[in-house]
Amino acid sequence: MGESLPDVPGGDQERGAAFRRPVRTLRVKMVLLGGSGVGKSSLALRFGKDEFRSTSPTVGCAYLTRVVHLSEVTLRFEIWDTAGQEKYHSVTPLYYRGAHAALLVYDISSRESFIRAQLWLKELEKQSVPGSTLTWLVGNKGDLDQDRQVSAQEGKKLAKDRSLFFTETSALSGDQVNELMLDVAHRVYEHVGEEQGGLTEWKETLPEEMYHRDTSNPLSSCCKVGP
C-alpha cells in the first residue's frame, strides 16, 4: 500500500549522489514517545523498513536504525522506542537524554492518547534542555479517519502553542511516514548540524578486525595461564 505513494521530491537523486561519492555519515538519535497502543512500534517498523542494514532485523523493533541520504550528508538514525505503559512514565526521561529528535505520537482515534501526549509533553519540557531536542507531534492511525476523535486542527494548535512540528501519519498504510522521516532529517541536520558538534560521525567498525589483531600478538603464546 505504502509503495504506491508519490516519491519524495529529490529523494532519488540524493540517493544516487550518495553512491557516487563518499558522503559523511552522522548519527542521529530519535526517540519515540507516546502511550501504549498508539502505534509507536508500527511507526518504528515503518521507519526501519527500507534501510540497508539493520542490527537485528527480525528480533525486535525497540531499537532500529535507518539511513537517510541528504544531498550533502548521510544521516544514520537510531530510533529508540520507549515503553508506553503509564507505569513506566516516571522512568522514561532516561531515554531522551541526548536525543536529537523526539516524536510524540498519539492516536487520532483516541482522545485519551491525545491527553496523555500533553502530559508527556510537560514531562519532556521539564527534563530536556530547551532547543536541544526537536520535537514532532505525530497523530498516528490516519487510516482510521472515520473514528477520528482528535481533529487535525487541535493537533496543529497544540503543536503551534508549544512550538512543535506537526504531522499526521498512518503506520498501517505508510502514509506520510517517509515524508516525516525526511522532514526530521532535514531539520535535525539544519538545527543541530555539525557546527555545534551535536552529531558525531558514524562508521562501522568490524569486531573481527580487532580480534585478529589480538591473536596476532607474538607474545601472547608464552604467557597464558594454564594449557
Binding site: K40, V59, G60, E78, V91, T92, L94, Y95, C222
Partner: protein, 513 residues
C-alpha cells in the same frame, strides 16, 4: 621359554630402582627416578633457572616497551625483540624433562610475588606505587590473577599502539601518566574521578580527531583500546569506591529484589511462555548474561553483557508472540529478568558504567539503548508499588511481608481481581489443598485400619480352620479306631492254597534233528 617370559614380567633391574644420579640411594618415579635428596637439588636448580628466565622475560618485555616508545628507536623494535628471543631458548631447552605445560605450571607456582610485580608493571619506576598497594591485598592468588589480566590487556594495548607509530607512543605515554596521576587522587569523590576520566577521554579524542583529520573510525578504535587499558588498571580503585554509598545502594537493591521474589510474569504483563523450552532457555541465558556483567572490568564489556542479555529477551518474546518485540514488551521483560537474576552489585555496575564509559556510547547506539533500559528497570524496581503490578495496596503489603504468596494460587484470576477477597482467595487454595490432603490421609488411615481388621479376621479364620480340621480328624479317628491286624510273614506262595491247580512248570524240551 615360558619361564623366561614370566621372569621378564616381574623382573626389575636393581639399577632401575636406584637414583639416576648414581648416589646409591633408591629413586622414585614421582621424582623422575631421583632420590629425594637429588630431586630437591635438581628442583632447586630448575626453579632458580625459572626465576632467572622470568626476570629475563620481564626485562625483555620492559625493554621492548621502552624501545617502542623511545623517540629515536621506534622502528628498531622488531629486530630487537627477535634478537632477544633466541637468547632465551637455551634456558628453556635445558629444562629437559619438563614438558611445555609443566613448565608453565611450575612457572606460575614458583614465581615470587616480587617477580610477578616486576613482571606485570609496565615500568617499575612509574607504577610501583600502585602495584605495591595491589600487593598488599589479602588474597595473593586473586591479585596475581587480576594482574595477569592487567598484563594481558597492557600487552594487547602496546601491540595495538605499535601499528600507529609515533602517535601510539604519545598515547601510551599519556595513558601511563594519567594512571599514575589517578593513583594519587584516591581521595577524590567518585564524581570527580569520573570527571577526570571523562576529561581525559575528551582530550584524547580531540587530539586523535585532529591527528586523523576528522575521520572518526580510527579515533573510536583507539578510544576503545584506551578505555580498555585505563579502566582495567583503574578498576580496583574506582569501582564502588568507599567515598560513595554505592555499596549501601547495592545492598538495598539486593534486599528489595529479594523481597519481591513473589512477582510473577503475569503481574508484570511479560509476554513469555516459559512452557516453551526455547523460551525458557533464552530466559536462562539472559539471566546468566546479566549476572556475568559483574565479572567484567571494562565498561564496554559490561555493556556487551547487557546487550547479549537483551538479545536473548528479544528472542524469547519473539518466540512467544511470533512477532518482533516492541519496547512495550521489552522493558517489562527486562524488569522480570532483573528480578529473577538479582544481579550482583547492580547499582555499582550501573554507576561505574555511567561514570567511566565513553558518554557517546551511553547516549546513542544499541548498547546505549539497552543500558538505558537497564537503568529504567533498576529505577522501576526501586519505585515498584502495588499499582504497577495491578495489585491492591493490601495485597501488595501482604506479599511483601510474606504473609501470603501468589505462587500457589490455583487460578490466576484471583489476585488480578483485586480487593482483599482476591487475596483471601489466593491464600485459600493452599489451605484447601492442605485440608484435602489431610482428608486423604485420614481416609487412608481408616482404610488401613479396615485392612488390618480384615487381616486379623483372616488370621482368626485360619486358626479356627486348623482347629476344625484337627477336630474332624480326631472325630474320624475316634469313629474308626486303627486296628492293626497281626499277620504272619510267610513265603509268597505260603497262602496260596490252590497251588495244586497250577500247571506244571515248563521244562526245556529237546528236539532231535
Amino acid at each position: 621359554m615360558s619361564q623366561r617370559t614370566e621372569r621378564r614380567g616381574i623382573h626389575v633391574d636393581q639399577s632401575d630402582l636406584l637414583c639416576k644420579k648414581g648416589c646409591g640411594y633408591y629413586g622414585n618415579a614421582a621424582w623422575q627416578g631421583l632420590c629425594s635428596k637429588c630431586w630437591r637439588e635438581e628442583y632447586q636448580r630448575v626453579r632458580q633457572k625459572q626465576i632467572q628466565d622470568d626476570w629475563a622475560l620481564a626485562e625483555k618485555l620492559q625493554r621492548e616497551e621502552e624501545a617502542a616508545y623511545a623517540s629515536s628507536h621506534g622502528t628498531q623494535t622488531q629486530p630487537h625483540s627477535q634478537a632477544s628471543a633466541p637468547q632465551q631458548q637455551p634456558g628453556h631447552a635445558s629444562l629437559g624433562p619438563f614438558s611445555k605445560f609443566e613448565e608453565k605450571k611450575t612457572n606460575e607456582k614458583t614465581r615470587k610475588v616480587t617477580t610477578v610485580k616486576k613482571f606485570f608493571s609496565p615500568s617499575s619506576r612509574t607504577a610501583s606505587k600502585k602495584e605495591n598497594q595491589e600487593g598488599k591485598t589479602p588474597s595473593p592468588s586473586t591479585s596475581r590473577r587480576a594482574s595477569f589480566d592487567t598484563d594481558q590487556v597492557s600487552r594487547d594495548f602496546v601491540d595495538f599502539l605499535k601499528n600507529l607509530q609515533k602517535p601510539g607512543r604519545d598515547i601510551h605515554k599519556q595513558c601511563r601518566a594519567f594512571i599514575v596521576n589517578m593513583s594519587s587522587k584516591k581521595d577524590l569523590s567518585a564524581d570527580e574521578l569520573s570527571e577526570c576520566v571523562q576529561d581525559f577521554y575528551q582530550g584524547m579524542a580531540d587530539r586523535l580527531m585532529s591527528h586523523f583529520k576528522g575521520s572518526s573510525e580510527p579515533v573510536e578504535q583507539v578510544m576503545d583500546q584506551v578505555e580498555k587499558y585505563i579502566m582495567t588498571r583503574l578498576y580496583k580503585s574506582v569501582f564502588c569506591p568507599e567515598t560513595t554509598d554505592d555499596e549501601k545502594k547495592d545492598l538495598a537493591t539486593q534486599n528489595r529484589i529479594r523481597a519481591l521474589h513473589w512477582v510473577t510474569i503475569q503481574m508484570l504483563c511479560v509476554s513469555f511462555d516459559e512452557e516453551i523450552p526455547e523460551v525458557s532457555e533464552n530466559v536462562v541465558k539472559a539471566i546468566t548474561d546479566i549476572i556475568e556483567m559483574d565479572s567484567k572490568r571494562v565498561p564496554r564489556d559490561k555493556l556487551g553483557c547487557i546487550t547479549r542479555c537483551s538479545k536473548h529477551i528479544f528472542s524469547a518474546i519473539r518466540i512467544t508472540k511470533n512477532e518482533p518485540a516492541s519496547a512495550d514488551d521489552f522493558l517489562p521483560a527486562l524488569i522480570y529478568i532483573v528480578l529473577k537474576a538479582n544481579p550482583p552489585r547492580l547499582q555499582s555496575n550501573i554507576q561505574y558504567i555511567t561514570r567511566f564509559c565513553n558518554p557517546s556510547r551511553l547516549m546513542t547506539g544499541e548498547d546505549g539503548y539497552y543500558f538505558t533500559n537497564l537503568c529504567c528497570a533498576a529505577a522501576f524496581i526501586e519505585k515498584l508499588d502495588a499499582q504497577s503490578l495491578n495489585l491492591s495496596p493490601e495485597e501488595f503489603e501482604r506479599y511483601m511481608s510474606g504473609q501470603a504468596s501468589p505462587r500457589f494460587g490455583g487460578s490466576e484470576g484471583d489476585w488480578s481481581g483485586g480487593g482483599p477477597a482476591g487475596g483471601a482467595g489466593a491464600a485459600n487454595p493452599a489451605l484447601a489443598q492442605l485440608n484435602h490432603n489431610l482428608e486423604l490421609l485420614s481416609s487412608l488411615g481408616s482404610r488401613q485400619e479396615a485392612v488390618a481388621e480384615a487381616a486379623r479376621g483372616l488370621q482368626a479364620d485360619l486358626l479356627s480352620w486348623t482347629q476344625s480340621v484337627e477336630r474332624e480328624v480326631h472325630g474320624i479317628l475316634e469313629k474308626y479306631p486303627l486296628e492293626v491286624l497281626s499277620c504272619t510273614v510267610s513265603a509268597i506262595d505260603a497262602n496260596n492254597m490252590d497251588n495244586d491247580n497250577l500247571p506244571p512248570p515248563l521244562t526245556p524240551q529237546v528236539f532231535a534233528g
